[in-house]
């Protein structure tokens, strides 16, 4: 598998690169704790008033927050930096080097960057999740765990596909940074399970930005709420989104002509 080898090599380079910027680690730790702190305060404020929210108990919501933090960390460490670099290269016409390499260009542009320190979020998220599961007395079946892990992977693929679609529009619109900022705003809504939002917003979040699939569904799996039907739906959507992303990317590359040409 040349693809895996390539990804591993870029991962190595990315990690080497990050070690040059130690200060980023400390800043990241600070950011993570501020985000976690405000999240926990919010959660407590809500549960001072009510005992459950949209059918979710406090430890269950804590689990959602854990997944939210894990997925967010992964997106910011592996997906977002690549897409931002791609956007910049499309705008400046420097994508040429990636396109003249004997490797799948989509793969290449998707694995070039890696922000190691963002993984602080992943670790923190895992701790939060562990705390939540302890409060739930670890009542999780093997099916829940499998459902959870598969939902995480599907969520990651969906978020990646979504980002790639948005980024590929840069082939036509050149400047799309603002659209990318939009993602972050919408993703923040994933802090809460999407079921608590009104229907229109819920479907919007699910289909426009696969937040539900990235956060709510994995958390649902762990808390025993995930039905096979939903899981299959997620699988289908993952495949569809990935295919669409691939098609848009290929069309975009065809359309690409280099800024200085």
């Amino acid at each position: 598998m040349q693809g895996l080898k390539l990804a591993a090599n870029y991962l190595r380079i990315g990690i080497l690169n990050e070690f040059q910027y130690r200060a980023n680690l400390y800043i990241q730790i600070l950011q993570t704790f501020i985000a976690l702190g405000t999240g926990l305060i919010g959660l407590n404020l809500v549960f001072n008033q009510v005992t459950e929210l949209g059918g979710w108990t406090k430890p269950e919501l804590l689990a959602v927050m854990g997944v939210f933090t894990i997925t967010g960390g992964f997106i910011r460490s592996a997906i977002q930096p690549n897409m931002e670099r791609l956007m910049e290269e499309i705008r400046e016409g420097t994508l040429d080097y990636a396109l003249t390499k004997p490797a799948d260009a989509q793969l290449l542009v998707s694995v070039r960057e890696f922000r190691l320190w963002q993984l602080v979020d992943v670790i923190t998220g895992l701790v939060v999740l562990a705390v939540a599961l302890t409060q739930l007395n670890w009542l999780v079946s093997i099916w829940s765990v499998l459902g959870y892990l598969s939902a995480l992977v599907m969520g990651a693929i969906m978020v990646y596909s979504f980002w790639l679609i948005i980024t590929s529009t840069a082939f036509w619109f050149v400047r799309v940074n603002e659209i990318a900022n939009l993602f972050e705003g919408l993703y923040a809504a994933g802090r809460w399970p999407v079921d608590i939002y009104p229907n229109w917003l819920r479907y919007g979040l699910t289909f426009l930005v696969p937040v539900a699939f990235a956060v709510t569904i994995p958390a649902s799996a762990l808390t025993g709420r995930l039905s096979l039907q939903t899981w299959l739906g997620a699988l289908a959507l993952t495949l569809v989104l990935f295919t669409i992303a691939r098609m848009i990317w290929l069309t975009g590359v065809k359309n690409y002509s280099g800024a200085s040409a």
Binding site: R12, I13, D96, A103, G258
Partner: protein
């Protein structure tokens, strides 16, 4: 021998949005855009044989980079035929891409914050180069370019010239058969230009690679390329030996001579460029050179006489000043 690169009636036209300057024009552009067709490359044909080093010349905007981009598969031609090593570049077949390289003097591909060695490893992964072969090639290039002490330094700490050397090493690690070099010596000092030049020459010699090179420095072209292809306004202007180019496009020759006794009126022979003591330099129209020199020898007491072609820069300058209309 069959050609490695063959181009026939190749054209690339762009549609570019066009508008006048100013706010109102910009606002109009939101609703209705007018497009203008730019003929970046407009029907050029040439063939290149294996192992040739060809200088690809033309002023800015002549269509050199566009042609190189079509050759390396980045751009689809609007029309015409293009075949390199038997491949159609625009298909970007991996087997094709493995055999070529593209170096652009104004863009870098090495990781800015890491030593070049790390970036080289990445190239190895991208091109799936066997480890032994990779190490051998890498060390060979490092020695050739004298980079031993620099490969461990982060690229950002290198000088422009050192960085360019690293770029070239990185771009050649997979030992491509065809090199597309777009201004590889851009902005470098003379010594550095020479190093890069001799490296390219050495690579060409060792591996029999074919090189298509664009450069604004005529010294690069003179040192490396026997053959030059000149394009201008997207059209082919000249294809042949560098010496023939000079012959064809230099309208003047420089005649220099030393005279014993000062002559009264030298301007009757030609355009006097300088008089330095008894040494005179003048420009003479090419077709009149022999007539003028024999007159000089007969009518003046000339001690020695030299006839030189105009410097290559001057020739190129006169080629580049050709108007578009005269090419149509």
């Amino acid at each position: 021998m069959s050609s490695v690169i063959s181009i026939s009636k190749l054209a690339k036209h762009y549609q570019v949005p066009e508008r006048e300057a100013g706010l109102i024009a910009a606002a109009k552009g939101l609703f209705k855009r007018t497009y203008k067709t730019v003929k970046a490359v407009d029907g050029i044909s040439f063939n290149i044989q294996p192992g040739e080093v060809v200088g690809f010349l033309g002023p800015n905007g002549a269509g050199k980079t566009t042609t190189l981009k079509m050759l390396s598969g980045l751009l689809h031609p609007t029309s015409g035929e293009l075949s390199v090593l038997g491949y159609e570049p625009a298909k970007r077949d991996h087997d094709y891409l493995r055999q070529i390289t593209l170096v652009m003097g104004n863009r870098n591909q090495l990781s800015w914050d890491l030593p070049a060695l790390d970036s080289f490893d990445l190239q190895r992964a991208i091109y799936s180069i066997p480890l032994d072969e990779f190490k051998h090639t890498r060390d060979e290039f490092i020695a050739l370019l004298d980079l031993k002490d620099l490969v461990q330094k982060p690229v950002r700490n290198l000088s422009l010239g050192e960085r360019m050397k690293m770029e070239i090493v990185g771009a050649l690690l997979h030992k491509p058969k065809i090199l597309f070099l777009d201004e590889p010596t851009l902005g470098l000092d003379v010594t550095m230009q020479k190093r890069i030049r001799s490296f390219v020459a050495e690579y060409n010699k060792r591996y029999g690679a074919t090189v298509l090179l664009t450069s604004h420095y005529m010294a690069d072209v003179e040192a490396l390329c026997k053959r030059v292809i000149v394009i201008h306004h997207g059209r082919l202007l000249f294809d042949g030996d560098l010496s023939a180019l000079v012959e064809k496009f230099s309208a003047f020759k420089t005649v220099g001579f030393t005279i014993d006794t000062p002559a009264s009126d030298l301007s009757q022979y030609g355009d006097v460029v300088s008089v330095d003591g008894s040494r005179v330099t003048m420009r003479v129209p090419k077709e009149k050179t022999s007539a003028v020199t024999s007159r000089l020898l007969n009518e003046l007491s000339v001690v020695d006489l030299t006839v030189e072609s105009a410097p290559i820069e001057e020739v190129i300058e006169s080629v580049f000043s050709v108007k578009r209309e005269t090419l149509e």
